[in-house]
């Protein structure tokens, strides 16, 4: 293209006139004032979440400071700390302690089962196997929660597959011995704390595998090799190199396993004993008992526990592993 042909373009004004029409005017306005566009984009989601969600949470918190009139069963809408006094009765403290213990055990067990899967997927799986591992964790994660619980009801039932398997292996005495133990035992596995524990671990396990795998992916392979070159046994390498580097991932995963166990009320209701967990207490207080203030105060417990947990996790750098 010759210079002459290019000239007319160069003489066109540097600033173009505004585009015509409403659409053009709007487009120009957004370009000139990006804050306006930002505001318009943020407004719908913030309004929705702010009003629907934060508003509801606030309403809930508010109600925990109301109290219930024991005779009429009506809610007395005056500020009081009486409901929190009720919360710290021995029976309720038992429920809280039981739930927190269960959450801690579930978290520990998930971490132990998750580690080999995550480690294998991060270090050894390649190509097709890597995808298979990934889907192998993802599909159970997204499978229906209730169907998973139902599957375990089938497995743990007295006439179910587990009893059948143990009978074939001549190990029924082991099951009977375990069931006769106090606290963890019961009539059958599907009505014992052991059953509740197994189902919790099963349902939340994928939530632990993914962040641990993400943390392990970031460990350079030559660190592990260097450790063994310098004479460490596999056990020492694990303790001093792998585990500390995987810890943020484990903590990140434990946020899910811990929080989800604290709030669940369906698993212990379907597979478990008649002794309550926090979620069940909330459910029965707001439903059959109609004591919304106490139910609200109960929900504050997991919120406070998770608040401290998240604060600790943040200090350990767990959020980078999410």
């Amino acid at each position: 293209m010759s210079l002459d042909a290019a000239m007319p373009r160069a003489t066109a004004p540097a600033i173009l006139p505004g585009s015509g029409g409403l659409r053009g005017a709007l487009s120009d306005l957004f370009w000139r004032r990006p804050q306006l566009l930002l505001l318009l984009m943020l407004l719908p989601p913030v309004l929705w979440l702010g009003i629907v969600y934060i508003g509801s949470l606030f309403a809930l918190l508010l109600q925990s400071f109301f109290s219930i009139d024991e005779f009429s069963g009506l809610i007395n809408r005056e500020f009081t700390l009486k409901t929190y006094g009720d919360l710290f009765q021995a029976a309720n403290l038992d429920i809280i302690l039981r739930t927190v213990t269960m959450a801690a055990l579930v978290t520990l067990a998930s971490a132990i089962i998750a580690f080999p899967i995550a480690y294998y997927a991060a270090r050894y799986a390649r190509g097709r196997w890597k995808a298979l591992f990934y889907l192998g964790v993802m599909l159970p994660l997204w499978s229906s929660y209730l169907v998973k619980i139902y599957a375990w009801k089938l497995i743990l039932a007295k006439e179910g597959i587990l009893t059948w398997l143990l009978a074939k292996l001549h190990l029924l005495w082991l099951l009977d011995g375990w069931l006769s133990l106090p606290v963890v035992g019961g009539n059958s596995l599907s009505v014992s704390f052991t059953g509740t524990f197994i189902v919790f671990v099963y349902v939340w396990l994928p939530f632990m595998i993914l962040p641990v795998q993400a943390a392990l992916e970031r460990v350079p392979g030559n660190l592990v090799e260097a450790s063994s070159d310098l004479g460490a046994s596999p056990g020492q390498t694990f303790r001093n190199v792998l585990f500390p580097l995987a810890l943020p991932g484990i903590v990140a995963g434990s946020i899910f396993t811990f929080s989800l166990t604290l709030g669940d009320y369906i698993i212990p209701q379907i597979i478990g004993t008649s002794r309550l967990f926090i979620g069940q207490a909330v459910y029965s207080q707001q439903g059959t008992a109609g004591n919304i203030p106490l139910a609200a105060a109960f929900t504050v417990v997991p919120i406070v526990i998770m608040g401290f947990y998240l604060w600790g996790a943040k200090r350990m750098g767990a959020f980078d592993a999410l």
Binding site: L37, P45, G50, P220, V282, L322
Partner: protein, 271 residues
């Protein structure tokens, strides 16, 4: 973690990983066997016989169809709302830096970070305070709230990979804001949105805890199943429905995976 040499894993590790994966998958496979059992009253193993008659029985149950239709409608509308809100939020957060940006991401994540029972009871008490009767829309309200985060996560990951200079180039070449959105931004984020939408649909379709608090008398599929688990009426029908639910949720997850597998972050890793 990468090691350059093609080592093979220690046997113990292989066995532990394989056992872990089997532990995750065998229980779900069991559902498929039980859907064909002839036993009606108990969960006896091995099944005394196999039959396909329960599929026909389930097909003719109006309550199952009603629950299914409600679930699909709720999931579709919640997904649509979540797509709009999640995309807007992701676009705002990833394209600009502004005061309170961290707070916005926390706000989006909170509905699934806190246990579902808290979300559920909070919504229920808000409905009670505001005198809102339970309806189809109260279910949607709850579902859309926690579905936003799935769309948001997918969209944010994709926006992060889309370079801002592409948008600038489009504007330099004379496209206005709407044209840039239609011809540059949308094609770039389309698959991420589709994946996010699939996952939001699956999440809503499967949600039970929040729904028990916001549904009133209506039954979605999970509520129907929960009812059957607590007060069993016809166990074989539950078995069949359980199997169908597994298959129905399988498809969107696989699709979402294939839509985003080339990216650095794959859909579904944060439920």
């Amino acid at each position: 973690m990468r090691s350059d040499r093609g080592q093979s894993a220690p046997l113990g590790l292989k066995i532990a990983a394989a056992c872990g994966l089997l532990f995750l998958h065998l229980p779900i496979l069991l559902i498929f066997v039980y859907a064909f059992t002839t036993e009606e009253k108990s969960f006896v193993w091995p099944p005394p016989g196999l039959t396909a008659q329960w599929f026909a029985v389930t097909w003719n149950r109006p309550d199952v169809w009603e629950a299914l239709s409600l679930s699909v409608r709720v999931a579709a509308i919640s997904t649509a709302i979540a797509l709009v809100l999640g995309t807007l939020c992701a676009a705002a957060v990833s394209q600009t830096r502004f005061f309170g940006r961290e707070t916005i991401s926390l706000l989006v994540i909170l509905p699934i970070a806190l246990p579902g029972i808290i979300t559920g009871i909070a919504l229920r008490s808000a409905f009670a305070l505001a005198d809102i009767p339970f309806s189809f829309w109260t279910i949607v309200l709850g579902h859309a709230t926690f579905c936003v985060v799935v769309v948001y996560n997918n969209a944010v990951a994709r926006f992060r990979r889309t370079s801002a200079s592409m948008i600038e180039a489009s504007m330099d070449l004379g496209a206005d804001g709407f044209q840039t959105f239609r011809h540059v931004v949308l094609p770039n984020i389309a698959t991420a949105l589709l994946a996010g939408g699939m996952l939001a649909f699956a999440l809503s379709f499967d949600e039970v805890i929040v729904t028990t608090f916001t549904a009133g008398q209506q039954q979605t599929v999970p509520i129907w199943m929960l009812e059957e688990l607590i007060r069993p009426r016809q166990r074989p029908v539950t078995n069949v429905v359980a199997m169908v639910v597994v298959l129905v949720t399988l498809l969107p997850i696989l699709l979402a995976y294939y839509l985003t597998r080339d990216g650095d972050q794959i859909a579904g890793s944060g439920k």
